[in-house]
Each structure stands twice: as C-alpha cells, then as structure tokens.
C-alpha cells in the first residue's frame, strides 16, 4: 500500500508531464524572459547613444622645443577631441564627458553611471612630444637618405654635392654640417581605460577610445611630417617610428566580467520559480473545479497527503526550471563564478524557493474556484512580486527593507551571491536560514488557508 502523499505526488507528476501545454508554458515563459534580457543586457544591444565617461586628465603638459616653445597640454587637447566626437553622419556625440574627481569617478563607475574612466597620465604630453620628435627624425632621415642617394648618383660623388635642405641646417659628409635633429626621449605614457570588462557599454566605449587615441597620434604625426616638408614623396618609405603612448585597459576590482545580465539572470530564475506558483494554484484549482477534490475529500486522505503530495512534483519542477534557466543564462553570456559546488548550492536554494512558491500557490488556490481564476490571480500576485524582489531591476533601499521578509528576495540574493560572485554555502547561510523560516511560515499559512477553505465540508 503506497503512502497517500506519494500517490498524490506521482499522480501530480504524471499529470504535469502529460499536460504538455502547461509544462511548456511553465518552462518556456521564463525562458523567453531570460532570452530577451540576455539579448538586451548581455550579448548586445548597442546603439548610437552617447557613452557616459569620465576623463581624468593628469597631464602636466610640455614646452615644445619647436616654434614658440609655449606650454602645451596634449591631454587637454585629446579630451577636447573626445568631447567633440560625433557618430558618423549623425549629430549625436559619441561621448558624454562627466566632470569628476578620481574618487567620484570610481563611484560613478561602480553605479554604472559611466561606462569607463579614461586616465591620461602626467607624462602624456612628453610622450606626445617624443612621438613628434620620433616622427621628425624618421621622416628627415628617410628623406635625406632618398635625396642624398639621388643627388650623389647625379653628381658623381660626395665631394661635389651640395644638399638643398638648408632649413634643416645640416651639411653632408665631406666638410658639410650634419642636421640638428631633435632628441627622442625614451619615454612611455600609458593611458588607462578603467571599467567592467564584461559590461557592454564599457566594451563599446573603450574600443572607440582606443581607436580615437590611435587616430589622434596618427594625425599629430601626419601634421608633423607636413610641417617638415610641404609634400612627402609617396615613394619615400617612412621607417618604423617609436610609439611612446600606449593604452592599457584596467578592470575595476570585484566587478570583473560583471554585466547587468549577470545581475538579472538570478532574478529571472526566481521569476521562473514564481511562475511555478501559478502552476500549483492551477493544478489545485483544477482539482476543485473538476470535483476530483471532492472525491479525495470523502476518502481517507488527509490535508497533509494532498498538500505535501502536490508540493513534491512542483519542487522537482522548480529544480528543473532552475537548471534549464541557468543553462539558458550561460548560453546568453551569464558569467558563472564558482564551480559545481556553487551549482549544487543554487539547486538547494531553488528547492527551498520552489517550496515557497508551492506555498504561495496553495494560498492562491485557496481563493480560486477555477483553473482560470487561479491563473489570473496567480499572475496578479507573482509578477508584481518578481518586480518587488528586484528580479528585473535593482530596488531602492527602502523597498529592500520590506522585501527581506519574502523568501524569494532571499533566494534572489543568495543566487546572485553564489552564481555571480562565487559565494560559499557559509556566505549564503543567513539567506538560506531566512528562506527556510519564511517558507515554513508561508507553507503553514498556505496549508491552513487551503485546508479551511477547500478541504472542509462547504
């Protein structure tokens, strides 16, 4: 003789598996959300909108040895270039520059108010000067080489030759003066672009900035060449130049590979589990509507058998739901931190969250006379709850104070901690404990409500 709750559980499982429509709806609905959010916040979603950035210009400037020898700040110049940049064939600026100190900038970065921080080093201008000098040397030496060879070939030897480049103030060998070429200092300036490597906006911003800096240096070099000579013959091969300016990308500690989707995916998993409560409510309301509950009521079955028997298959479905959604999240670019152990902890969290969702389903079913009614009421409860616990968007601090008493909020926090930050079981134990307690209260309420309203003689 089978235990009655086991029979109810097996019956529920068979009905669940055989009701393909309901099963697909329960599993696919949250999956669609995961896909949409994944596309929107994980793998793409770029568009022609200004990227918010902070430029920290630490450049001290340089006194150029050419021209007026005034102090020139290439960092300021480059900042202005970034400010003035616009998308191609558009009036939309590429960057929206925020004024901030280093500390403020980091704060903005952590809050995702800016995509990245561009730190221009103190020696940026000196490095740019070195770049120009290098360009001069390379250009002149290449030019001299080509012209000298040509001249010597036509004159028949070094002794009879007079080089026409007087402005450069050098003479050729054979009692001639050498040109006074600028010294190229051995210097390297590193522009640091700081941000979340996995954040899509950071990815976009830093690639543009790299490109802009490269073009900026190229433009300076080109201008330098033009100033040396009106026209550089195309056939002259300008040799390898020094590149004193480099770019380095720096990850912000603790947020490496963190995206908005990494924050949302655990929320969508909890949302998926909450959707299960609609299924539970629907299944129990169907028993009421089809009067099979009346059959069970007149039998020897107890409330516990029905409710615990109903809980088991739906808790199993919750775990399956969690694993499926987790798989979809991974496919959509979720950055899973932690190994198998984190997944096992997540399954445990999913189990408890599943039970809390069943409890919610019991409450909904207690007040639903039909499957349709249960579906509507369940949706009315679970969708706002999903928003309330911050499953889709971060909550204001005031709301978090309230929702801490909801097991799903604890589940959400614990899942983020485990899957996104790689927290250990010990780290999330407070959340799990709170979940268990809150779920126990909810389940008790659900059982009492359902037993009193639906299992007693009318």
């Amino acid at each position: 003789m089978a235990l009655k709750f086991v029979t109810i559980a097996v019956k529920g499982l068979k009905e669940m598996v055989r009701d393909k429509g309901l099963l697909a709806m329960t599993l696919l609905f949250p999956m669609v959300f995961m896909l949409v959010f994944g596309f929107a916040f994980g793998a793409g979603g770029g568009q022609n909108s200004p990227q918010d950035i902070v430029v920290l210009n630490n450049d001290l400037g340089t006194s150029m040895n050419y021209g007026d020898s005034e102090l020139f700040n290439f960092g300021e110049n480059f900042t202005q270039v970034l400010r003035d940049l616009k998308y191609e064939n558009s009036t939309v600026p590429m960057f929206n520059l925020h004024n901030a100190t280093g500390e403020e900038a980091l704060n903005l970065l952590m809050k995702r108010r800016v995509a990245c921080i561009v730190a221009i080093p103190e020696n940026f201008s000196e490095a740019m000067e070195a770049t120009i000098n290098s360009t001069i040397r390379t250009t002149v030496t290449s030019l001299v080489g080509e012209v000298a060879i040509s001249f010597l070939q036509s004159a028949g030897g070094f002794d009879n030759a007079t080089f026409p480049g007087g402005s450069m103030n050098f003479t050729l060998p054979g009692n001639e003066t050498l040109p006074a070429l600028p010294e190229v200092r051995s210097i390297t300036a590193t522009v640091v672009i700081e941000g979340d490597m996995g954040y899509i906006n950071f990815g976009i911003a830093q690639s543009i900035i790299r490109g802009v800096l490269s073009s900026y240096i190229e433009a300076i070099q080109s201008e330098t060449r033009k100033q040396i000579l009106q026209e550089v013959p195309e056939e002259i091969n300008v040799g390898e130049e020094l590149k004193p300016v480099s770019v380095e990308t720096k990850s912000v500690s603790g947020t490496r590979e963190f995206t908005a989707f990494d924050y949302q995916a655990p929320g969508i998993i909890v949302f998926g589990l909450l959707m299960g409560s609609i299924g539970v409510a629907g299944a129990l309301a169907r028993e009421t509507e089809s009067q099979t509950l009346s059959r069970l009521k007149v039998s020897l079955m107890k409330s516990f058998d029905l409710l615990f028997g109903t809980l088991l298959p739906w808790a199993l479905l919750a775990v399956a739901q969690l694993l499926i959604l987790f798989g979809v999240a991974l496919a959509m670019g979720f950055h899973w931190v932690g190994g198998t152990s984190s997944l096992l902890i997540a399954v445990l969290i999913g189990c408890i969250a599943g039970v809390s969702c069943v409890s919610l389903g019991l409450l909904v079913a207690a007040f639903s006379k039909s499957e349709g009614h249960a579906g509507t009421l369940g949706m009315l409860v679970s969708v706002p709850l999903s928003f309330l616990i911050g499953a889709f968007f971060p909550l204001p601090a005031q709301a978090e104070v309230v929702t801490v008493f909801l097991p799903w909020r604890q589940a959400f926090t614990a899942l983020i901690s485990v899957l996104t930050y790689g927290a250990s079981l010990q780290d999330v134990m407070p959340n799990i404990t709170a979940m268990v307690l809150e779920t126990a209260v909810l389940f008790t309420l659900g059982v009492i409500a359902f037993a009193r309203i639906r299992l007693k003689a009318e």
Partner: protein
Amino acid sequence: MLRDARLKSESVTIETRDLSKRYPSGVLAVDGLSLRVWKGEVFGFLGPNGAGKTTSIKMMVGLLKPTSGHVLIEGERIEAASKRIKRSIGVCPQDIVVWTRLTCMENLLVMADMYEVPRNVAVKRAEKLLDDLKLTDKRNALAASLSGGMKRRLNVAMALIHDPEIVVLDEPTAGLDPQSRLVVTEYIRELKKTKRLTVILTTHEMEIADQLSDRVAIIDHGKLLVLDTPENLKDRVGKGDIMEIALYDETRNKRATEALESMEGIQEVNEIGGRIVVRALDAASKLPRIFTLLESIEAGVLDVSLRRNSLEDVFITLTGRGLRE
C-alpha cells in the same frame, strides 16, 4: 447469510434527521429531510432536477455542511465519522469526476490508495471492475480519450474500488447512450443481487428507480413527498393503465380534459407538458369511447400511447407536474 440476517433485522445504515440546507444565495435546497436507509437495500431518491437530491446526497457523505439537522451513518455523525465509516462509503458523483490525464487503471489505483487498499488487492479489483463495466480494452487509455459513456462507467468504478458497504450513485445513468445505460443498470442490479450493498440511487428516471429500488423516496423543492416501495407508491395513486393523448390543437386540451374527467370509468385526468394523461382501469377497452368523446368536442387526436402505471405517475399525482419539467 450474516448479511441476510442483518438485512432482515432492518438495521439503519443512514439516517437523516430534520436535514436542511440553505445556500448563501438564500435558496433552500433541502427542507427538513428525515429518512432512514436500511442496510442492504437499494434506496431510490427520485425527484425532478433541482429537487434537492444531490444536495441531500452531498450532506449524507459529508461534502456539504447542513444548515440544520444532521446525518448519522451507522449511528456516527458524518462530520466526525471514523475511518471505518469513511471507508464504508463509496461515492459516484453526478458529474463525471475522473483525472483526465490518468489512465483508467491509474484512476482506479489512485482511489484505491486513498482508501488504503493493498496494491495487489487493488489491481485485481480494478481489473474486475473494468471487466464488469466493459472497460478492459481501455485499461491503459487516458480518461480524456474515453467517450462520455465510458467516462461515466469509470466514474462508477471509482466509487467501488475500495469495496464499500454503502454506495451512493448520484444520477449514474445521466446522459448515457442506451448501451452504457444498460451496462450500468445491469451492474447495479448485479451489485444488489450478489453483494447486498446498501445503494442510494438518485435519479429522475422513474423506470430505473422502479426496476432497481427496494424503496423510493420522492422529493420536490427539498421536501420529502413520499417514501415507500415502488409497488406501494404506485398502488397509492391507484391502479390502472396510463394513456397519454396529444391533440392537434393544444388549445383544446383544457376542454378535452374537462370532458374526459366526466366520463365514466376514468379515474384521473391531468394535462402534463401539453399532453393529456388519463389513468383508467383497462384503458384499452375505453379507447373507442374516448375517441368518440374527443371527436364530439372537435379535439383531433394527433398521438396516443398506452402504458402501465409508473413512479412518474405517482409524482404527477403528488405534484401535478412531470418529473422532467
């Protein structure tokens, strides 16, 4: 033998005492119903739709709480019935109540588990029930795929899987095709003959109640009108045949009824549902005179049928209305 002895002692299985049910809508569905069902009898519960049969039955099995009065099953109040009493009752609801996504066998075994029937016993019993109710071929078919008649037969089987002593069959033949109706009625007859179960059978089909019931209670508007054996009830309204006459022109019914009432040898005349119902001894021999009389008042006869006195006639006599009205 023991069962026969108990039957002879006419021990009470179910008793209702001044049972009433008023729904929140204000409808008084059952009004002071007091009756006793003897152990081993088939108790017919007859009445038109909405008479309060199902409400009474639901209170008897503990699904509905009475507004007043109470129900005793073998002396125990139903709301506090012991496991033994609960196990002794099998209920076949008026609606088809099966799990549509389970097979016939699975449906039966779920109910067997709910009544703590050992699995090996349950399987044998389920096979027998499926065979008796001509469902063996559908053993592993989902209930959703069954025809209406098959589902109703499964509905009956589910009430019997735990081998109850009292079976409540609420309209078991409602909406059945003739073949399924025959299967179900024959099965109830078989139960009566071989198992000596106490059967409470609600129906508004007088033939079935007449054929199967040891005693019949007729209720209307929630009140018990009469309770006796079918023969006694039919005798109570008088012996004789029943002739039903339909006229071409129904507006002549009243005039025809008045004329027939004054005719010698006619015991009772009523107009029910547009037809004139005449009760008379040896009605066939009176037919020529009746035709002549109707012709004389220009009431052309469209159709005439002749049958034996039935429980419906009892109901008509008691209420002036037909059971199906």
